[in-house]
Symmetry: C2
């Protein structure tokens, strides 16, 4: 059964999934890089950047499982790049260079149409202008039975949560204090949405919590 | 230097310091007992309830340090008991029996005056009707150089935070999901208040984070 998943999503101890004042230089907002401090040293992320080594252990296990069995991604436009409004040209192709770390179809939510971009390594960026349900339908079809991962940012994760469409969510709660920014869970009632914590692991860098949606009663 | 401290304060992974629907039967609200699951097994809390044994390790260290060097406490009225409005009589003397676990003066914030109550074991409950600053002044005087601990609940901690009066805060972030209730940090900017995470420890039950207020520039 194909799931819609949020994985390896870092939030600060005060609840923010991105810091304030996002910009091209600081795509995660002020202080936002601290949300990923647990993941950077892991083997999965180090390999993604072409490096040998990297840590093993629970942080690595979570980083790796975030990519396992994922057949398509959904990203918000701000996670794809810093450009706002209509696309001025086709020059921007994401933050990740010629061979992005997805290696499957990636559906980018935007209000502004643009032709798909085929990248090296199996990643194709598709631009979806007709909303989160349409993006999910296209991603599910592309995933061919594997899971669809919502990569972010915060606003996109919130939309899928609020629509009741997320099946599983792994959050990495970090000891960082951001103070302001985008609060991931503000005014979202995870219990009412049916989520229960089904696993948690504390490491030196984060508390990992896996939330799973209870099977809905039929009828 | 006497500090105003919040210690061993449990919050859910979605940010709540108490669950919804608080009552005499459920003083922490629905699901709220999960916020203290990390502390119950510890030696400090087990001894508080007259039992031998209890766990040692980081959870115990945090539980114990929450009581160390505390010369007075401040509690909100709802943490003292379930009665609302004027005191009907002097029958209610707290949730904790004849010998409460404080053993120092405890200042209870209320809008309704009441005579102080001297309990066994060194605890005296004083009822303060003229606000958080007055309560702090009285608590500091009573603490005689030791720290003052704000015990809660959420609304009282928030008031002291928002007034910029808290010097140090230890939160135990737990894997519990409450979904609703009292959000401890909503609309409170910890960075603007000067807090930095100075220590964190992950255990099987919680992520402990100690936040310390940076020294304010003089002038």
């Amino acid at each position: 059964m194909s799931k819609l998943r949020v994985s390896s999503f870092g939030i600060s101890m005060d609840g923010f999934g991105a810091g304030p004042a996002q910009s091209r230089e600081h795509p995660l907002g002020r202080g936002g890089e601290a949300l990923h401090a647990w993941a950077w040293p892991t083997r999965t992320i180090q390999r993604m950047f072409g490096k040998d080594g990297g840590t093993t252990g629970p942080d690595e296990d979570f980083a790796a499982s975030g990519f396992a069995n994922v057949g398509a991604w959904i990203l918000g436009r701000n996670m794809f790049g810093p450009i706002r409004g209509p696309w001025p040209d086709d020059a921007w192709k994401g933050w990740w260079g010629a061979n992005p770390p997805y290696h499957v179809p990636v559906f980018v939510l935007t209000h502004h149409p643009r032709a798909s971009i085929e990248m090296e390594g199996g990643t194709t960026f598709h631009f979806v202008t007709d909303g989160i349900h349409a993006a999910l339908a296209r991603a599910r079809a592309a995933a061919q039975g594997r899971d669809v991962r919502v990569g972010g940012g915060v606003a996109v994760v919130r939309q899928y949560l609020q629509a009741g469409l997320v099946d599983e969510m792994h959050l990495a709660i970090t000891p960082a204090v951001l103070g302001a920014g985008e609060a991931l869970l503000a005014a979202i009632d995870l219990r009412q949405l049916g989520f229960e914590p089904t696993r948690h692991v504390g490491t030196a860098s984060a508390m990992h919590v896996v939330l799973t949606k209870a099977a809905q009663p039929v009828g």
